[in-house]
Amino acid sequence: MQSNQVSREPYPPGDFAIWIVIYVELITFGLLFVGYAFSRRADVLTFNNSQLIINKTSGFIDTLILITSSYFIVKAVHVIKSSNFSLQKANQIASKWLLAAIAFGGMFLVNKLLEFSDIFGQGITLSTNKFFMFYLLLTMFHFMHVTLGTVILFNIFKKTKKDGYSKEDHRGLETGAVYWHLVDLLWIVLFPLVYIIR
């Protein structure tokens, strides 16, 4: 019986303040997700017809990009926290993973801008109908989070260039990492809800 016991960390990774931010973000997006779902229930036809206009492939590519960039961040944190490399080498490797994640973040933003450009080019706005109100609100709000996340990752990247993280001191890296994973988690729910379910 006792062999199944796992020693648990008392606190989550990163600064505790980021977890307050994460919980607030989860509640905010959660309300929008539920609002979308019940608004759809009230007017299924409008939602289904409008959904045909948005680009599923673009949403799919965005999901692959975010999942993969999150994976890169896990690798960066792992190198600093758990590898046996020297401080300099560990920071050097982590910076490469971070740069890859930042590049993917940039790709997400460019892809999203192209998607928005296509939507606005068709004369669609927040007031077109309830589907597009939710679609634009959710995706643009999420876009802002990816933008902020990319800026945070860039600052972490700059610190790795100065060998700023070690096995003992990597809280800043973990804080940025969990924020990026939050952005990923939110998109994981947003993608099927808005782009696929009909």
């Binding site: 606190y11 019940f38 799919f60 792992h78 969990v178 988690l185 994981i188 379910i197």
Partner: protein, 82 residues
């Protein structure tokens, strides 16, 4: 070992994402498959919470909050759909 798990998690996440995309793109989505899609979304979310956010081996009270959020949101989405 931890690294290997992360690689497996990434593959599962990609696999479920392709599954969701194909359901939408090929217009295969129906009442039953929406349920399957929501279950795979829950699995994806929980994998991100456990292995990417690193809450797998953290005190239950911290792991519980995002898991509860995910369960609640997907249950309400299901309730609205069905």
């Amino acid at each position: 070992m931890i690294n290997k798990k992360v690689e497996i998690v990434w593959i599962i996440l990609i696999f479920f994402t392709i599954f969701a995309y194909l359901l939408g793109k090929l217009e295969l989505i129906n009442t039953l498959l929406v349920g399957v899609l929501l279950v795979t979304t829950f699995i994806k979310g929980q994998l991100v919470i456990d292995y990417f956010m690193g809450l797998k081996n953290v005190s239950y009270k911290y792991r519980f909050i995002p898991t509860l959020w995910l369960t609640l949101i997907l249950s309400l989405v299901a309730a609205a759909y069905y």
